[in-house]
Symmetry: C2
Subunit: 432 residues, 2 copies
């Protein structure tokens, strides 16, 4: 525990260094990604089969998950877990359903009516990583808003395990949210398949979901090729701001929870109480003993910081500069600090509001901007699955009211044909 870094009132000219995330080397992966994409584009399913054998170590002939496998998942999952997934789904649905925008027709000038209507993105792809943690919660976070949006074609790709299976909790969550097209494909080849389409896997318009650096680089490359993605991704992170009234055991537990995501995770505590800083430090040591992913958590703590600032105001200033994915506020009278928050993915207010709630089941989305992207990106929401199309209708009277302005502006931009489209209509109206 010499590893976690401790700072006292770090000078502002060091902040740009302090907010730097653990380095990733996505650029060096790009060659591999291009190779895989090229091959998938050219050889389709054959290439997928080859890469699945090479990267996942299993031979798959039929990528699509069969109805029987989904049926078995329903049967084999414990009732306890199924109920938990159902409650999470209900809360996520409730919260995202309120994000629907009501149609408002605005008369900007007499006779000029403007409004927006939402339409689903027709075809979307969801990537769910495999590995030690079966991220069925991410299925809910992406498929529930897709279902509310009304996306017609929702494709889910997830790597098969050594026996050629996908974890039953992923299959259960997918079928619960209406996904019928589930494919046993992982990594770069999955992203390539959804980018180009193959005989088996449909091409989609937008790709969602987390992944390791291979998947992240592949999604970036897909974006260069014209596919939309949810957002650029980096390792997960949390920043806690606490005063002397916080509970150090709770904070330590939150920091460790974040640290267990991966060796490249980052956790930060900001506090105006030296006492709190020390107590949290002690609690981390204490709780660390009981955590199974020990080595990984310790590695993540090496990237991490406990920082003392003289004032809470400076804590918020630093936090905005860092722009954390998750921001936990454990301050007495936290309400008055909300307006200080400028950059964050998702905010957890008060002692009992643990990040775990937002990760799983409170209703908010857990697909959030990392690596400082909270400065310009929102987390995933219903908005991520729709387009808002603007509409307008102009009456004769409306065109008479606005026509002059339109003609003058078009003329001054040297766009004579733009002007003509107005003039020809005005002339007709005036003749009537």
């Amino acid at each position: 525990m010499n590893t976690i870094k401790i700072y006292h009132n770090p000078d502002k000219n060091t902040w740009n260094t302090l907010i730097q995330r653990p380095a990733t080397d996505s650029f060096t992966l790009k060659n591999l990604v291009q190779t895989v994409f090229d091959k998938v584009k050219k050889e389709g399913d054959c290439a997928i089969r080859e890469y699945t054998l090479q990267f996942d170590g299993v031979e798959i002939n039929n990528f699509q998950v069969e109805k029987q496998e989904i049926h078995n998942a329903h049967k084999n999952l414990s009732d306890e877990l199924k109920k938990a997934i159902q409650q999470a789904k209900k809360n996520i649905y409730t919260f995202h359903k309120t994000q629907e925008e009501e149609k408002k027709v605005i008369q900007t000038t007499k006779g000029i009516y403007c409004w927006r209507e939402s339409r689903p993105i027709e075809k979307i792809g969801i990537y769910i990583p495999g590995g030690s943690a079966p991220l069925f919660s991410t299925v809910l976070m992406l498929a529930v808003p897709a279902q509310i949006a009304g996306c017609k074609e929702v494709v889910l790709c997830s790597p098969p395990d050594k026996n050629g299976n996908i974890h039953p909790a992923i299959l259960y969550s997918a079928s619960l949210t209406g996904i019928t097209q589930i494919y046993k494909i992982g990594g770069i080849q999955a992203i390539a398949a959804m980018t180009f389409g193959t005989n088996t896997i449909p091409k989609v318009y937008k790709i969602f979901g987390p992944g390791n650096q291979y998947v992240t680089t592949a999604k970036q490359y897909a974006q260069e090729l014209g596919i939309a993605i949810d957002m650029p991704a980096g390792p997960s992170e949390v920043l806690v701001i606490a005063d002397k009234f916080a509970n150090p055991a709770f904070i330590a537990a939150d920091l460790l929870a974040q640290a267990e995501h991966g060796a490249d995770s980052q956790v930060i505590l900001l506090t105006d109480s030296l006492y709190m800083l020390e107590q949290v430090q002690k609690e981390i040591l204490q709780q660390l003993k009981d955590i199974p992913r020990h080595a990984l958590v310790k590695k993540a703590l090496e990237n991490s910081m406990l920082i003392y600032f003289n004032t809470l105001k400076t804590c918020f200033e630093f936090s905005n500069h860092y722009a954390p994915e998750h921001l936990i506020i454990s301050i007495r009278g936290y309400r008055k600090w909300i307006s200080y928050i400028e950059n964050a993915g998702s905010v957890f207010l008060g002692k009992y509001t643990c990040e775990t709630a937002g990760d799983y089941a409170s209703g908010t989305n857990h697909t959030l901007p990392t690596a400082g992207y909270a400065k310009m990106y929102s987390g995933v929401s219903l908005d991520s699955f729709i387009k808002k199309i603007t509409f307008q209708h102009i009456s004769k009277k409306g065109l008479l009211n606005l026509g002059n302005t339109l003609q003058i502006m078009a003329e001054n931009e040297n766009l004579v044909a733009h002007k003509n489209a107005v003039t020809i209509r005005l002339n007709t109206i005036k003749k009537i």
Copy 2:
């Protein structure tokens, strides 16, 4: 006028070919973009000065526009144009102001409160092309929502003319919308300057605005480097769906207006009336004579199509497949067709609703997805200038209600520390 292509009931298996846009070669520009970016990153203002001399043919020592120049723009612009710009600004403001989201606190489970709050993107950059058409309307379209959002730092870059000036209508529009930082910089070097920042030009988090292929490729590269952009861009386009009751002269005028944007623009008419197709064709010939940008418009018409389909339903199906930036519906009883529209940037309904209105002053935004991107992207709106941060507060009772679900889900994802963060709180609550 042999050039515009005419199709009758084209077979569905030809649609993928028909919807292809005129080719662009952004990939070959990337080397130049990288060179310019590298030099700007290394040499800052010196590099900008050099490139401005090289590409814009003018030596600029002070990039920032002085107060006196803005003052002169106010003085030198005609009252007529100033009033037109003011009316446009008012309508754009009115429409975008209604896009503000009201805060709604949702109780997803008893004691679990979730909501979203909007925050402005702190630093944004606006690029306005120079050249023959001074796009002051684009200044309004980008700066007005930025102002409503409350973006703190709004930087505008636009290339200087041969005398080292920016068009007064651009300066006037910028100052009307509260922009104080205007720089005489264009092309790739402007995008690079806003990406890295220099001694003179601030680094921004998100870059907006149209441009030629150099600017478009530069924006794509900026995105690879971690800067957000408004959307991927391509040449402008319009698709008109008309029945036999439409006015062919109006439609021809709309098609020609779009065609005058550039030689790579594309205009399309879909109709279920052979008579209408012929009349529009005649009208184009007729009106073409009076348009100054003759050669350019003719070139655009070579990329263009008039298509007859047996039914209006097939017209809408094709249109959704094409996903036009601008969609004009000139059909009697157009209301019942609105629900058929799935993919479009902005829709113009009815005879008198010319695209020019949306381009300038009706209130909707004219920065829209081209090249088929309307399948997954919305046009620019207030949303483009803000992030929506999710918040949650959980009471003791709330955690008691949800705690079990959280623990079960975390355990099944093998995230023990996530579970601990819940358990440690539940134990404290139960002890009280």
